[in-house]
């Protein structure tokens, strides 16, 4: 990375090190603590960052011995060691038996016993004939007059020095001989819980700045960065107005960002909604319906003869239980039955077979969105435009191009004057507005419920020519039977190919992907 860019990405802990030292100096954490006023943790952090950026290297490791104050040691530092407390008690209250001392100071008997042992060995305490302990007269004076501190005072010094440091450490290298001697008696390597100090072997790591550090230091200089710049904006900074006249540490605005997991809409659902919004903008009103339908509404009302091959058991899912609707609404049932049998009053010859009124009640999973159009007809307004995106079910082996359930987009247009050319007009609008097509062509099609029927093919900017949908004018056998006496344009458009393209997929199953990470990362081009 270029030195100037690197310079901007440095933390102030790094900046100060780079500005303070040259490449030939041995550095270690303690030196930064002494000279830059770092805490040891900050010093280590600074080295670790500089290493990672290739601005410093480790040049050696020196073993060192440290004494770390234990929780017990911290307690002694605060309240005094048992020995100090015994001495203080005796000097304030005069001679006392050991059990009395135990009771008065709330110490344990063994601690008082061993403290007494040590102090009497050093000639500080003596036991009289009544087993009362007292301070040997003149001991204080003798001890302090000798020019050498007594052990008790040395321990106190050590405890206080260690307790005042954040890391609670005393470096052996910093200690004088008498202190080392004292610590030898009260520090343990293992099982240090009962001791005020733990003896530990550590390593002092030596670092040197690399040659390129000088270049970065120069860049820092050029940028005027001293490491004294302000860091994060804090409530305190705002309250006390530290920021006034100060500069802020610049951040590397190009550094990689952390990953967030936002709440988010599903892109396929958003795609479906965008199609709905388009259709609404073209004046269509949305309709909806149940997943379970009767043979009547699914096919009979659409004038598909009951013997039609698309109605075989291998094309439609039947419901096991309940198997049949209780009834079919009249007058629709009678009129539709008549249309099938002999045309009824629709002007048709009919299919010329005997309409099965039980079969028509059979419950199935909706197999085509056109059901919703048929259901809308009896209550539809004229003029009226309706659409729905309906989940449909097909008896198909599931693979990349077939699903057992999927969406169909369907609709109708009712009007006194709608005709083939208006139908083509709508298809053109769908092609341009919904599918973004540049070229459109129409060819005669076949659907059991429309006549004439037209397929619309479009040239998609990416996918090339494909069939966008099918449409037609509902047969009079359909509309007249459901009480509609104006022409009804019916259309269906296939939007799944566009959905796959928008989502960058090529397998229909992926539209309904259950894979969370996959869905989280998915983006749609819409």
């Amino acid at each position: 990375m270029e030195a100037a860019i690197l310079a901007k990405s440095l933390h102030q802990l790094e900046v100060k090190v780079l500005r303070a030292y040259g490449p030939d100096e041995d550095l270690d954490a303690m030196r930064l603590v002494r000279e830059l006023n770092y805490k040891e943790g900050q010093a280590n952090q600074a080295f670790s960052w500089l290493l990672a950026k290739g601005l410093a290297s480790e040049t050696g490791r020196i073993p060192r011995t440290v004494y770390e104050i234990t929780p017990l040691g911290r307690e002694y530092a605060a309240r005094g060691t048992p020995e100090e407390r015994i001495l203080r008690h005796l000097s304030e209250n005069g001679a006392a038996r050991l059990p009395e001392i135990v009771a008065a100071l709330g110490l344990e008997q063994k601690d008082v016993g061993s403290a007494f042992g040590l102090l009497s060995k050093e000639g500080a305490l003596v036991m009289d004939s009544e087993k009362r302990a007292s301070i040997v007269a003149g001991w204080f004076e003798a001890a302090h007059g000798s020019g050498e501190k007594p052990r008790v005072a040395l321990v106190r010094d050590l405890l206080q020095r260690a307790a005042s440091r954040v890391d609670g450490l005393l470096e052996e290298a910093d200690l004088v001989a008498s202190e080392k001697a004292v610590l030898a008696g009260i520090a343990r390597k293992r099982g240090a819980g009962d001791s005020p100090f733990r003896l530990a072997e550590r390593e002092r790591v030596i670092y040197r700045l690399d040659q390129n550090a000088a270049e970065v230091a120069k860049a820092l200089d050029a940028l005027g960065l001293t490491g004294e710049e302000l860091g994060a904006v804090t409530p305190e900074m705002l309250a006390r107005r530290y920021w006034e006249g100060a500069t802020f540490r610049p951040y590397n605005v190009k550094s990689p960002t952390a990953r967030l997991i936002p709440g988010r809409r599903n892109p396929y659902v958003e795609f479906l909604e965008s199609v709905k919004d388009k259709l609404v903008s073209l004046g269509f009103e949305e309709f909806d319906g149940g997943l379970v339908e009767t043979e009547f509404w699914n096919s009979d009302a659409l004038f598909m003869p009951q013997f039609h091959s698309a109605r075989d058991i291998h094309d439609v899912y039947h419901l096991a239980e309940p198997g049949f609707a209780k009834s079919i609404e009249e007058p629709h049932l009678s009129r539709v039955a008549a249309a099938h049998e002999n045309g009824g009053e629709t002007g048709s010859r009919g299919w010329n077979y005997s309409f099965d009124r039980d079969f028509t009640r059979r419950l199935i999973l909706r197999s085509q969105g056109t059901v919703l159009s048929a259901r809308q007809l009896p209550t539809a307004k004229v003029p009226g435009k309706y659409f729905g995106i309906a989940r449909c079910f097909r008896y198909d082996r599931v693979d990349a191009t077939h699903l057992s359930d999927f969406y169909q987009t369907e609709g109708i247009v009712l009007g006194e004057d709608v005709n083939l050319r208006t139908l083509l007009g709508f298809l053109e609008m769908f092609a341009v507005e919904v599918a973004g097509a540049k070229e459109v062509k129409y060819v005669p099609g076949y659907f059991p419920f429309t006549e004439p029927s037209v397929e619309v093919h479009i040239k998609h900017p990416v996918l090339g020519w494909f069939e966008l949908g099918g449409s037609g004018i509902f047969r009079p056998e359909v509309t007249e039977s459901l009480g509609v006496h104006v022409p009804v344009l019916a259309w269906g458009i296939g939007i799944d190919r566009m959905a796959l393209m928008a989502l960058g997929l090529n397998d229909l199953r992926e539209l309904f992907s259950p894979d969370l990470e996959n869905v989280r990362y998915r983006r749609a081009k819409m």
């Binding site: 709440g263 599903n266 002007g347 208006t422 609008m429 005669p444």
Partner: protein, 574 residues
């Protein structure tokens, strides 16, 4: 939809001209046909190359052959209507040298037969293939897998006329079928012969089976299963054939015979009528000479055609357009009477004629027109409410998911630990993976959890979609509802989290709700007892939420705690 393979040379000779793909493709649209595949390696001569074509109109079986398709394209581009003068019709019965006698015994099983003979030239390999394809398409697609129509071809020179068609005992009658050298009983053929096994479903429940024999008693065929290895073994080089079609509906059988006869005529064969005598009444009388024209004329109003097609059309234009799709026409004022072509019977309503007018004129001659009626577009109330709900959930940090509705009993019932009677089952599932219709979106969400343990946590997911379940109060016995389900899975997921989120959701949806404990014994088995709540709006239960039971999590392979909720948005919206 039927797909056919046509021999390139044969097809273009029938068409009267060669075409390149760029010309053929748009020309096919007038027959609702699509060019599927046309490989043209130089190494293969045109006489052996194949064009694959898909036909979309299931009501036009006449188009499912090279001859029929070529004929439609010829007519569309102005070719003359062929004169099929061999057809008999009411008051005009053609003489026939040959006769088929139908016996009463066949009436219950497969009552109708139509047939004719052809002669004139030896058949070649390409033509034999063409005939086999025609037979298959007619019998499989139009005849519903031979159930309502099947077809047989025979060496007519070998037949001792008259032929009889009768019902026989399938246990005792024996003959040698095609692809066999031994005599087999009819039942044996159904059980052992490949064609017998394929089509046994048509006859297996019948006590009497149909059989076609000549006057010597030699078997022609066992309709609709298999021809005999003798009279029924047509070969390249034969120049005299008997063709028959049998089935359950006389108009369909008759039409299928007419289609085949017209195809043979187009290939240059002479059609020789056959008289069929029935011992019972048929829609066409007791003795019928085939090919038989039975279609009735239908009349179309030029005014109505103009209104439907959005273009002012004179009666002459209507008439000439109908001729381009094969009809014979007569003009009466503003009406045109149309007699369908001999090979068609797809006019049920005058709109069918109007579509033919559209095709005759050419769809490209109808410019699209912008609609003029003004209507207000709007989304459904439940869609609007669902979108509002989704917006709030996204704000709460939830990822929206969408799932399929069909699934397995294992996922929808077993793993959820719920009562199976609530869930709707498909009677004819394709596989047990798609056997049930979901009654909740939760199995979908848990399915995500079971495969997404590597996705960064927390997982907060939801779906808004349809569910269905049994509901005796409905006419269908079933209700479909719009449901919301949400699921939160992470180390700290618990009741408190979901409770706060649900309260927030309902606050912004503007619902005054009450939280209630489930009555004892009425707990939801999917949740931990004591850690799930019912939500009541206006005293009515609209949902449930809480901590999912570890039993459920284990069944789904979820290794972290999960809280979830499920709500009926249709009820909540009210």
């Amino acid at each position: 939809m039927p797909k056919i393979e046509v021999n390139e040379e044969l097809f273009f000779s029938l068409l009267g001209q060669r075409m390149e793909a760029e010309v053929l493709e748009p020309a096919l649209t007038s027959a609702k046909a699509e060019l599927d595949e046309w490989a043209r390696p130089e190494s293969v001569p045109a006489s052996e190359r194949i064009i694959k074509i898909e036909l979309n109109d299931t009501n036009r079986p006449d188009l499912w052959s090279s001859a029929g398709l070529a004929r439609a394209l010829r007519l569309k581009s102005g070719g003359a209507r062929p004169m099929y003068s061999f057809f008999s019709r009411e008051g005009d019965r053609k003489p026939s040298k040959r006769k088929v006698l139908i016996e009463e015994s066949v009436r219950k099983v497969r009552p109708f037969l139509a047939g004719f003979c052809v002669s004139g030239k030896p058949i070649d390999d390409a033509f034999l293939k063409e005939m086999i394809q025609t037979q298959e398409k007619l019998a499989w697609n139009y005849g519903r897998k031979r159930k309502t129509i099947s077809m047989g071809l025979y060496r007519s020179a070998e037949i001792q006329w008259p032929v009889s068609y009768k019902g026989v005992d399938p246990r005792t009658v024996r003959f040698v079928p095609l692809q066999e050298t031994r005599e087999m009983s009819l039942l044996q053929i159904l059980a052992e012969h490949p064609k017998g096994r394929e089509y046994s479903f048509i006859l297996e429940k019948e006590p009497i089976h149909p059989l076609l024999l000549d006057s010597r008693g030699d078997v022609l065929s066992y309709p609709p299963i298999i021809n005999s290895a003798g009279l029924g073994a047509v070969q390249v080089g034969d120049s005299e054939l008997f063709i028959e079609l049998t089935g359950s509906d006389l108009p369909s059988v008759t039409l299928a015979a007419s289609i085949v006869a017209c195809d043979f005529a187009d290939f240059g064969y002479t059609i020789e009528p056959v008289l069929v005598e029935y011992p019972f009444d048929t829609p066409f009388g007791r003795s019928v000479t085939f090919p038989w024209y039975f279609q009735k004329p239908l009349s179309v109003d030029a005014g109505r055609a103009s209104r439907i097609l959005g273009k002012s059309l004179s009666v002459d234009i209507v008439a000439s357009s109908l001729e381009k799709t094969g009809s014979r026409v007569e003009i009466h004022g503003q009406y045109v009477s149309a007699w369908p072509a001999e090979y068609r019977n797809d006019f049920l309503h005058q709109v069918d004629l109007i579509e033919d007018v559209m095709i005759g004129i050419g769809l490209e001659n109808f410019p699209p027109e912008r609609p003029r009626d003004f209507t207000i577009g709007r989304l459904s109330p439940i869609e609007l409410f669902s979108r509002k709900t989704k917006g709030i959930l996204v704000g709460l940090g939830y990822q929206e998911m969408i799932y399929n509705y069909l699934g397995s009993g294992k996922d929808y019932i077993e793993k959820m630990g719920i009562d199976a009677t609530q869930v709707l089952r498909v009677a004819n599932p394709m596989s047990e993976n798609f056997e049930y219709l979901r009654n909740s979106p939760l199995p979908g969400l848990l399915g995500t959890e079971s495969i997404s343990s590597k996705a960064a946590y927390p997982h907060r997911i939801f779906e808004v979609g349809k569910v269905a379940f049994r509901d005796a109060s409905e006419n269908y016995g079933v209700s479909t509802r719009q449901y919301l389900a949400l699921l939160s899975v992470h180390a700290e997921a618990d009741f408190n989290e979901i409770a706060s989120q649900v309260a927030t959701l309902l606050f912004y949806l503007g619902s005054d709700f009450e939280v209630a404990e489930p009555a004892e014994g009425k707990e939801d088995p999917r949740f931990i007892v004591g850690r799930h709540a019912r939500i009541l709006v206006a005293g009515r239960e609209i949902g449930v939420y809480g901590e999912l039971h570890p039993r459920l999590l284990e069944a789904w392979g979820v290794g972290l705690p999960a809280s979830a909720g499920e709500f009926d948005l249709d009820l909540l919206r009210r």
